[in-house]
Amino acid sequence: MMRRELSRQLLLSAKLRLLRMHFEAGVGHIGGNLSALDILMSLYHDALKPDDAFVLSKGHAAGAWYVALWSMGVLGEDDLKTFHRDATRLSGHPPCGGIDSILFATGSLGHGPGLASGLALAKRLQGKSGRVFCLTSDGEWNEGSCWETLIFAGHHRLANLTLIVDLNGLQGFGTTREVADLGSLAEKFRAFGWRVLEVDGHDIAALHAALQPPSAPDVIGPSVILANTRKGCGVSFMEGRMEWHYLPLNQAQYAQAVRDIEQGVARPAGEGE
């Protein structure tokens, strides 16, 4: 892997590559990929160490993951060109086998936290170092299996486990508040014995701080980073709009999206929703 300083230029190139990949493939899911990309880039260029592991539970952000792996030199330009096409390794959701960095095929929500807990528990039983990270969506916390894991990992104090929740506020067919309002996820995680950090999921410096290993006195249980994000982050006509969970970009929209990203129109998290 080729870890690089997470410069503005590197982030910009990743965002543009993500847009182009989705445009050329003619597929949707771009909104939830843009909300997750800063987190994934921070993980790969700023946090993950050789002994660490990562599970993408929100498998519909596979595109952003592939681009992060491309930025690390794990996937090549030729790989990204095959995204969503016949005979590709890069299916719409993460594949099983073939790419060492992808430990598990995901896409059905609610699996990642349990898988990541299994990896974290294995490290403990084997006396191995390293941390395990897992990125979930926010709608995913409708899944009962997530809460099973939340109970388990809190009870067993899996301090080497860090979940990141991509809180973009939109799920499949409505806002998270409209569909099944969970109120404060922070309070809920704390109640189960988790260490909770809340950050702007598009603030690279804040993500950097949150992704650091907890200092020793803090290590009493698993951690969760509640990352406030914007679906379609950086693209004026996508931000906070549910349809960009699904829609592909047409030529004019793609051109506008590229202009928006290049001009850095992103607003601070929390505004305009």
Binding site: G110, L115, F152
Partner: protein, 302 residues
């Protein structure tokens, strides 16, 4: 089979890679294993989806997890976790389901496992082991300890007849030689014990031969079984499992693929709850025609 299962697992506990997960079950049965494994015995609570995902994570890290519960809670509740997390990745996780078939009797339909191996065998790389007798567990557990694919172990109650001479464990075993004029019965599961016990009392000339199949899917059929099918007038397949996905269809397909057609074919399988009433395992078997006298009546009729 829980007690011999536990004893054998305690023997296997010296393998530092073995991890045993239970979905809050095993009271008065698995305590010795808990003591032997220490931190590698984990009661994950009443949370089977998480248990299976955990097992996948452990196996992906090089450990050898076993996940235990009452049978339907280990294969039906977390089916998607088995499919996606374990089988798609061909991870060596052993699922242990206690109470195969109608094993939990009058506890009711929610606790029965009458479509377990049919469902599981639809998944890639899955292998199924159905011990019929306590003595089958040793060879099966030794095999499972080194298995490289997902597996399901269906535990039941051994019904080994007294003074019955069993051949050594093998996936296919002829456990009662039939008469020249007899049918061929193939059974999967502990209910073979009662059928064999009743059959051995019949006249040697006319009694059916009884084969026992304990591993699925069918990889190959022993020539001696094929010969028995060719020779006998009637092939009867008996299993405490529904017809769909069952041994009956598997055997029939294998035979047809080899151009072998039994002169007569009967299949006795679990049929759910025909009367709408509940009872012991024996009661449910009887309702489905799986009891020894019903099976022999079919096998011995002209």
């Amino acid at each position: 089979m829980r007690t011999p299962f536990c004893t054998l697992m305690v023997e296997a506990a010296s393998n530092p890679e073995l991890v045993f997960l239970t979905g809050d079950l095993g009271f008065k049965a698995l305590e010795p294993l808990r003591d032997a494994l220490g931190e590698r015995f984990i009661n994950v609570g009443v949370a089977e989806q998480n248990m299976i995902s955990l097992a996948a994570g452990l196996a992906r890290s090089g450990l050898r997890p076993w996940a235990y519960s009452i049978a339907p809670f280990v294969y039906a509740r977390p089916f998607e976790q088995i499919r996606n997390d374990i089988c798609l990745h061909k991870l060596p996780v052993v699922l242990v389901g206690n109470g195969g078939g109608y094993g939990y009797g009058v506890m009711g339909a929610t606790h029965h496992a009458i479509e377990d191996y049919g469902v599981l065998l639809s998944l890639p790389s899955m292998r199924v082991f159905v011990p019929a007798f306590d003595g089958d567990l040793g060879p099966i557990i030794r095999l499972l300890a080194g298995i490289t694919s997902p597996a399901y172990l269906r535990l039941g109650l051994s019904e080994e007849p007294a003074d019955f001479r069993l051949p050594p464990y093998a996936p296919w075993r002829l456990i009662l030689e039939g008469g020249r004029a007899g049918a061929t019965i193939l059974v999967t599961g502990p209910l073979v014990g009662g059928i064999a016990d009743a059959a051995r009392k019949l006249s040697p000339q006319h009694r059916p031969g009884i084969w026992l199949l304990s591993e699925l899917p069918i990889v190959e059929m022993p020539p001696a079984f094929v010969e028995d099918v060719r020779r006998s007038e009637h092939l009867v397949i008996v299993e405490e499992h529904v017809e769909h996905g069952g041994v009956g269809a598997m055997v029939a397909a294998h035979l047809l693929a080899r151009g072998i057609a039994p002169r007569r074919f009967s299949h006795r399988a679990a049929r759910g709850y025909p009367s709408g009433l509940y009872g012991s395992q024996k009661f449910h078997r009887k309702e489905c025609g799986l009891d020894p006298s019903s099976v022999l009546a079919i096998a011995c009729q002209d």
